[in-house]
Symmetry: C2
Subunit: 150 residues, 2 copies
Amino acid sequence: MNTQKTTDLREFKNILKKHGLKATPQRIAVHETMMKLGHACADMVVDEINSSGTTSVTAASVYNILSQLALLGVYGHRLSANNKMYFDVNTFKHVHMYDCENHVYRDVVDNDLMTMVSEHLGRKKFRGYSIKDIDIQIIVHPTRRKAPKA
Amino acid sequence: MNTQKTTDLREFKNILKKHGLKATPQRIAVHETMMKLGHACADMVVDEINSSGTTSVTAASVYNILSQLALLGVYGHRLSANNKMYFDVNTFKHVHMYDCENHVYRDVVDNDLMTMVSEHLGRKKFRGYSIKDIDIQIIVHPTRRKAPKA
DNA sequence: GTGATTGCAAATTTTTTGCAAGATA
DNA sequence: TATCTTGCAAAAAATTTGCAATCAC
């Protein structure tokens, strides 16, 4: 279970160094974009970087970079209902709110809930398995007011 | 939020009829397989059906059938960490246990937990959104000792 | 300098689509 | 019979891979 956070660029470079990874412009750009977007999938990051004009990346590199960082635990990651891998700069223990119409994630900080659930589940035994993580997602949809849809 | 269950074949046919869908051998086979497997993704269903010899289906049809049934709320569905859509015959409100090594889902019936979380979240307000569902997943990995596995 | 990293294009994997042939009510 | 469904093959969409060129250290 991951409980770290990496929002500072300097710290990010330290993490890269610590893992023997080079601080390439692409990696920096990806991380800056992730810090800006919060939750994003590869194509969003690619577009954001390439439209900013400062750095240029290919999709393949972004996929590699994001996966690698997720593997190191620097990012969280999850598959959304629209079949894309979303990465999350914030690896604090938190709940996700997922807008299933617009495919947007938002963090919900609710320590009471996390604690409550963790403690409840900690009391249970799952024969042959160890709990690695607990994932809580609140699936929401925008409260429409005008245009009640077809 | 879905709270129904469809494990009976007769009831399944009624549901099809109710929605104006025909009780084709393929749909029956898919549902029987889903009842047998509990949680499965399209390719698992295809293999299971085609290896049983009784009925034959193509992948495209299984994808269509499963998606359609999920849309009707007959099945639940979720994307797993190995990037495949898993369907779930059981649409009772329940928690999922996900073995992230073998990519296997199991239902965990824990009404206390569901109630606790629902009540807790019901008290919160999410501006502009309505809660559609609450998804709790316990990500586990096998406690290697004597190879639990299937 | 040298090994890590990127870019590029092609390959893989999962899922979807269009349309003709076939089955169901 | 009229329509819904399936099968087939090709198309899409997301992600991965192989390898040469390039860059960070």
